[in-house]
Structures are given as C-alpha cells and as structure tokens.
C-alpha cells in the first residue's frame, strides 16, 4: 500500500493563496477604507473622509430643507478647533449637542459638505445603536 501525498495540504495551500489573491484584488480596486479623522486633523485633506467628533451647541437648519448646519470639535475636547458641517438626509433622534457623531463627506471651501444620509450618532450608553 503506497503512501499517497495528502491532497488536503495542497487544497489548503491553494485555498489560502486564492483567498489572499482575492483580498489583494479587492483592496487594490476598492481601496482600504476611508480615513477617519478628528476635526482638528481635517485641514487641507482632500477627498472623501469620515469626520468623527462631538456636536457643539448651537446648530440650526433642517436636514431635509436647505441642510442642517452644525459644528464638530474633537472628541472629549482634545482640541479647540471646530469644523462646520452642512448635512442633508436622515438625522437620528439621538442627535444633540455633546453627542459623538461620525459623518462622511468632503472639505470644500472651508466647509465640510456631507454625503447624504451618512450621519451616524453614537449613543452615550450601552446597547444603543442609533443609525441614521
């Protein structure tokens, strides 16, 4: 009875190679995620990024009519810098001054113009997922 080489090892090796290949292909085409920035790090950045920060008091506007304008500063007051965000789309009920939010968009002429419906409000207590 001759000892055949175990095909299982070959299969596993090929599969790993295949997965890695698919992976590399995906990341080269779709990119590796959008940068996640604090407002103080936004200056000068080009392209679509995700801004994460705390909502400053004093926001106005209607996200479904003309846009909601609010200011974001660094999480936990790490910096005094703020960024003005203009946002259209759905807003979670959890949205208010002091809450941490993330929003996707682009810096244009000093204002962060948000992608519609990309506002996500993080809830202060556990178990609460409030997506917009």
């Amino acid at each position: 009875m001759a000892r055949k080489r175990n095909p299982a090892r070959l299969v596993i090796a090929l599969s790993v190679a295949a997965v890695l290949a698919v992976f590399l292909l995906y990341t080269s085409i779709a990119g590796d995620g959008t940068p996640s920035l604090a407002p103080s790090a936004l200056a000068g950045k080009k392209g679509v990024v995700t801004l994460v920060g705390d909502v400053r008091p004093g926001y106005r506007g209607d996200s479904y009519a003309g846009g909601l304008r609010f200011k974001l500063s660094d999480r936990d007051g790490a910096s005094k810098q703020t960024v003005t965000v203009v946002y259209t789309g759905s807003v979670s009920d959890q949205f208010r001054a002091g809450r941490e939010v993330s929003v996707k968009g682009e810096l244009r002429n000093g204002t962060f113009v948000a992608v519609k419906d990309s506002l996500v409000t993080k809830c202060p207590s556990k178990y609460t997922a409030k997506k917009s």
Binding site: K4, N6, P7, A8, V11, I12, S15, V19, V22, F23, Y26, A30, D32, G33, T34, P35, S36, L37, A41, T50, V52, D62, S63, Y64, A65, S90, V91, S92, D93, Q94, E100, S102, V120, K122, C123, S125, K126, Y127, T128, A129, K130, K131, S132
Partner: protein
C-alpha cells in the same frame, strides 16, 4: 443586602481559586479525594453566584436605588419585565450573568461526565476554573454590581430602544451561546492535558456545542429583528463590530460542528478541530472585549473603562497558553487517515471549513484593521459595509452551493458517475429556477440571481434526500409514507435534523437576497392628504395623532396604504417621547404581506411643527423569510439534539469497555 451579594461573589472567587489549585494538583498527582473536593467547589460556584444574582434581582424588584447599578438602569415607571431584565443591561451585571451561565454549564458538564471519564474530568475542572477565575476576579475587584450610594428618589431609566420584547431575550440567547463555547474548549484543553488520544472530549461536549451554537444563531436573529424594527433604518445587519462580535464565533463554531463529524467518521482533522475550538472560544471572548472596551468607534459602545485591558490580557493568556499546549502535545494529534479523494464528503466538509474560516478571518480583519492602522500609521480608517458585503458574497455563495453538494456526495470516494446521477435533478431544478427568475426580472442583481438558483439547488437536493430516504425506509419495513418518514428521521436524527438546519439557512439566504438586493426605496415630505408611491404601493398621509403610552407619549403619522387599486389598510409611523429618560425614539411602521413575505417599511424621519412629515419608505421583498428561517433552524437543531438511545448505548459500551481494560 449588598454586603451579602459582595460576600457571595468573594465566596465564588475563593471557591474558584480552590477548584483551580486543588483541581490542578489533584489532576497532576491523580488524587481522587482532592479531585472530588475540587469538583464540589466548582459545583458550589453555582450556588454562590446564584445568591449574588438573587440579591441583585431582589434589588431590582424593589427598585432599590441605593444600588448604583439599579439606579443606572431602571426607574419607577419602567415595566417590571424590563426592570428585571436590566440585570444584564449594564457592564457589571452582564459579567455576573455571564459567570452565572458559566457555572450552570460547568456544573452540568462536570455532573454528566464525572463518572464516565474521571481522568478527563479531573483536568477539565481546573480549566473551567481558570475561565471562571477571570470573571469572578472582574466582579470582585474591577467592576462590582454591588456598589452603593445614598438612594436618589428615582432611577435614571432604561434607554428606550431597549424597552422592547426582543431585548428581553436577545442577551440570554447570545450569552448562552458565548458561554457555552467554553465547554468544548475546556474539554479539548483537558483532553490534551490528560494526554488522551481519543475523541471522548468531542463526544462529551457535542450537545453543549450544539446548544451554544443554536443559541448564538437564534440570538443573532433576534438581534437582527430588533435592529430591523427598533433601530429602524430599513436594514437588519450593519456589519457593526458588535454584530460581528457574535457572527465570528458562530461561523467558527459552524465550521467546528462540521469538522468534528469528519473526525468522528474518518479520524481525520484532529489538530484542526482542536485549533478550531480554541478559535471559537477566543472569538467569543474577543467579541465581548470589543463590545466592552470602546476600542472601536462603533455605534454601540460600552463605557471606555479599564476593563478592556483586562479582557485583552485574558484573551492573550488563553490564546498563547492553548497554542503552547497544542504544540507540546502535537504527537497526540497525529492521524494516519488520509483524504482519499478531492470528491468525497470529507473533502466537501474541508471546503466548507475553509470557506467559513476564510469568512471569519476576513470579518476579523475588517474589525481590527482600523485599530491596526491607527496604531502603526497614526490615522484611523473606517471599513464600510462594502468590504464585508463583497466577501460575504464571495464566500457565502460557494458555501450555499456546498450545502446542496455535501449531502449528495458519499464518504471516502464518490465516483463522478454517481455524482452525475444524483446531481441531475437538483441541477435541473436550479437551472429552470434561474431561467424563470431571469425572465421575471431578477437579473437586476447577478449575485441575487445566483443566490436564488443555488438555493433552488440546495432545496431540491434536500427534498430529494427526504424523498429517497423515505422511499428506501418504506421498501425496507413497509408502512405508510408518514410513518416511514417519521421512522427515517427518528433513526437518523443527526443527518435529517442537519438537513432541516441547512434548509433554514437556505430560507435565510433567500430572505437576505430578496430584502437586500431587490428592495425599493422612496422618500419625500408629505402634508395631510398628499401621497408617496414606492414600488407597487401608494401611501397617503391622513393625519397626525398623539396617544399616551405606559411611560411615553406616542406620536404617529397615520397613512393609508393602497396597492394595485386595492385598499390595504393603515400603517402608522412616528416617534415616542419618553418622559423620565427625556429621550425620543423612532418608531417605524411595518406592514407585512404574509402571502409574499414582503414588508412595507415606513420611517417617519421628521415630524414637523406644521403637521407635515418627512417619510422614507422601503419595500422589502421576502424579508420575513429571515424570521421564518429562525423557526426552521430551531426545529432542525432540536431534532439533531434529541437524545438517541441507541447511540447512547453504543457510546456507553465503548467507554465502559475502556475502563474494564484500564491498568489497575
């Protein structure tokens, strides 16, 4: 009373330390009385932890706000069921609940196994004690549920989105799942420590693993339903790290459930199984670490407390320790059996495992990538749903197909000749289904069309299995079709229960494809009397109403629904304003068409002072198949779990025989 709770937890810690030290010494030196003593200590942890839990529950029942934990999560107005369920609603209480479940699982595992394999159980006890030690330590030193204060007049109240029947049961199922994975892990490690070469550890823990896996699956589905109805953004899964935290161990456990079958039937994959069970358990700890540490900017987040560091440390200890042990005992795990053919049931199980592990690791990478990127390059990144959805489709579609291929392929070696015959029917059904659906317009989504065709293939192959099996049974022992069917399932519980579980996954896949790939959406601002058309539906905004609720004011936009000229009734969507918690929650309106499984999903994004509303409306085809799948899944699982007297006897003979041959 909090003193009793604290004392009970200290007692637990003491018992666990004793069980660990005495148990390890007893195992090493093979001392029976010491081992019995250590076992008793482990069993008693259920009593002491139970006392602590009761103290906390009583505090909740009495609205005793001198307990900080009770004050943080409840209020006088909160309905009783949510008050009691708040036991696991916060950090410390959820750790206590985890520990309680662990003591229950451990007690059951030890009691059921202590006579049958003394030498294995003697090592399992200190391993279980090690895991318990971590949680007991956390509860006594780091995060106690028995912190006290001067009692305020009322509690802070529970977050409104948790005041939902699904949230009463979702954590129970999830924890039954997470904690249950400790048992096969402990037995695997115990078996290595005891230097055993046989598969007793698998046999002993098969039921626990199945229960844990089923609970984890059902728990996730309940969580999805909650997300769908309560969070209400129109979806049911967002690839949020917390959701992934439950999915990853479940996928690893699914792979494990399949690969242990290969070890059972062919004696192969022994090293792989041990590594898989370590992976599954580690992922369950990792998952809870993710949820609690606040390390990721996810939409869910526990408080950013030092507890994360402790969990990470424990996780590192578990992974490194287990791997070192495996490396040291590698000779025990060697196997002589070989994969005879790439076209065999073992091979399909291997492919299934590779796909599941690949998907698990892909999700793991997606979850940890932002942290890694931030650590090494200073800047954080967000991994969006696009990444996860892509790999879910790439790995999921072949997995779906394999569910139909596996059962049709014989063990060891399947000739292409046999395959051609058995595949013909299901492949035909799949092809016809694909063409029909294409004609009906399903070509708008290629992955969706493929998913549906594969689903048809799998359902056909499962159906054929039942038909052929029943026919063969009838040919063998006569009787009517129903009685032959019952006998077939009853005599092959694991096989046919497994087929039913597979069918449930197919139903799930169809539901996911329909709701995600073939849905429609529309939005707009409506004043009283105006209407919005989405898909085949037309919604007309009738009026805005306000109603008082148990602990909130309910504001609802009333909408008339019409489809194809037919009036379908009314749907309401709006907001709840919670008085005590001073929060507003979104309440979606869902109209389910039970015939087609389709949902009309209405979100009142904005209710304006002038009475107009901004609506977002989804039409979600087949989404209710997801919840139906849950029931089928549970049924299949129960059938598989049902004890088989014949199998029990066979195993009993095997292990009694071993003892009879033992060196005296």
């Amino acid at each position: 009373m909090p003193e009793l709770g604290r004392a009970a937890l200290v007692a637990t810690l003491g018992l666990v330390l004793y069980a660990l030290v005495a148990g390890a010494v007893a195992a090493r030196t093979r001392r029976r009385r010491l081992a019995e003593s250590a076992q008793t200590a482990l069993l008693l942890t259920f009593v002491t932890t139970g006392v602590a839990t009761l103290v906390l529950l009583l505090a909740f029942a009495r609205n005793d706000y001198s307990f900080v934990y009770v004050w943080e999560l409840t209020s006088d107005q909160l309905p009783i069921q949510y008050t009691l369920a708040a036991l696991w609603g916060g950090q410390a209480g959820s750790l206590l609940f985890w520990l309680l479940l662990l003591t229950v699982y451990s007690a059951a595992a030890v009691l059921l196994n202590r006579r049958a394999s003394r030498d294995l159980t003697v090592w399992v006890v200190p391993v279980l004690a090690t895991v318990m030690l971590f949680f007991a330590f956390m509860l006594v030193v780091v995060s106690s549920p028995f912190a006290t204060q001067v009692a305020p007049a009322d509690g802070r109240g529970l977050n409104p989105s948790l005041q939902n029947p699904y949230m009463l049961v979702h954590p129970i199922f999830l924890y039954l799942g997470y904690v249950g994975l400790t048992i096969p892990f402990a037995f695997a490690i115990g078996s290595l420590l005891a230097r055993r070469k046989d598969e007793r550890w698998i046999v002993a823990t098969r039921r626990a693993t199945l229960v844990a896996w089923t609970a984890l699956g059902v728990g996730q589905l309940i969580g999805s339903k909650w997300a769908y109805e309560e969070v209400g953004w129109g979806g049911f899964y967002a690839w949020d790290p917390v959701e992934n935290a439950a999915l990853m161990p479940w996928l690893a456990a699914t792979a494990f459930l399949h690969s242990v079958m290969v070890q059972e039937k062919r004696g192969m994959l022994r090293l792989w199984n041990v590594l898989l069970v370590i992976l599954a358990f580690s992922l369950s700890i990792f998952g809870t670490f993710l949820t609690r540490s606040g390390i990721l900017s996810s939409v869910h987040s526990f408080t950013e407390s030092p507890i994360g560091a402790w969990f990470l440390g424990f996780l590192a200890f578990v992974v490194l320790g287990s791997l070192l042990l495996v490396f040291a005992r590698l000779p025990l795990l060697r196997t002589r059996a070989r994969l005879e053919s790439l076209v065999s049931r073992e091979a399909t199980f291997l492919y299934n495992n590779l796909l599941l592990v690949a998907l698990t690791l892909t999700i793991l990478w997606g979850v940890t990538y932002p942290i890694v990127h931030e650590m090494f390059l200073g800047e954080s990144r967000i991994v969006g749903p696009g990444y996860y959805n892509f790999f879910f489709v790439i790995f999921g579609l072949p997995l779906l197909l394999l569910m139909g291929i596996g059962p049709l392929v014989a063990w060891r070696r399947a000739s292409l000749r046999s395959l051609g015959l058995t595949f013909a029917w299901p492949a035909g059904v799949a092809a016809v289904t694909g063409l029909v659906l294409l004609a009906l317009g399903a070509g708008s989504s290629i992955p969706g069309l493929i998913a549906y065709s594969f689903s048809a293939f799998v359902l056909a192959s499962i159906g054929l299995e039942f038909v052929r099996g029943t026919r063969a049974r009838r040919a063998l022992s006569g009787g009517s079709w129903p009685s032959a069917f019952a006998a077939l399932v009853s005599r092959n519980r694991r096989r046919y229960g497994g087929y039913i579980v597979h069918a449930s996954i197919v139903v799930l896949a169809i539901g996911i494809a329909g709701a995600s790939l073939y849905d429609s959406v529309g939005e707009g601002r409506l004043t009283r009397g105006s209407s919005l058309a989405v898909g085949d539906y037309r919604l007309t905004y009738r009026d805005l109403v306000e109603r008082p609720g148990a602990n909130a004011t309910l504001v609802r936009a009333v909408l008339d629904v019409e489809r194809g000229g037919e009036q379908l009734g009314v749907v309401e969507a709006g907001k709840n304003a919670y008085t005590v918690e001073r929060q507003v929650s979104n309440e979606v309106g869902v109209r389910t068409d039970y015939l087609t499984g389709e949902d009309l999903f209405v979100i009142a994004e904005q209710v304006n002072p002038d009475g107009s509303v901004y609506l977002r409306v989804f039409v979600k085809p087949l989404v209710n198949l997801l919840w139906l799948a849950g029931f089928i899944f549970l049924l299949g699982s129960l059938i598989t779990l049902w004890p088989d007297a014949r199998e029990q006897r066979r195993l009993a003979v095997r292990y009694r025989g071993a003892e009879a041959h033992a060196d005296s």
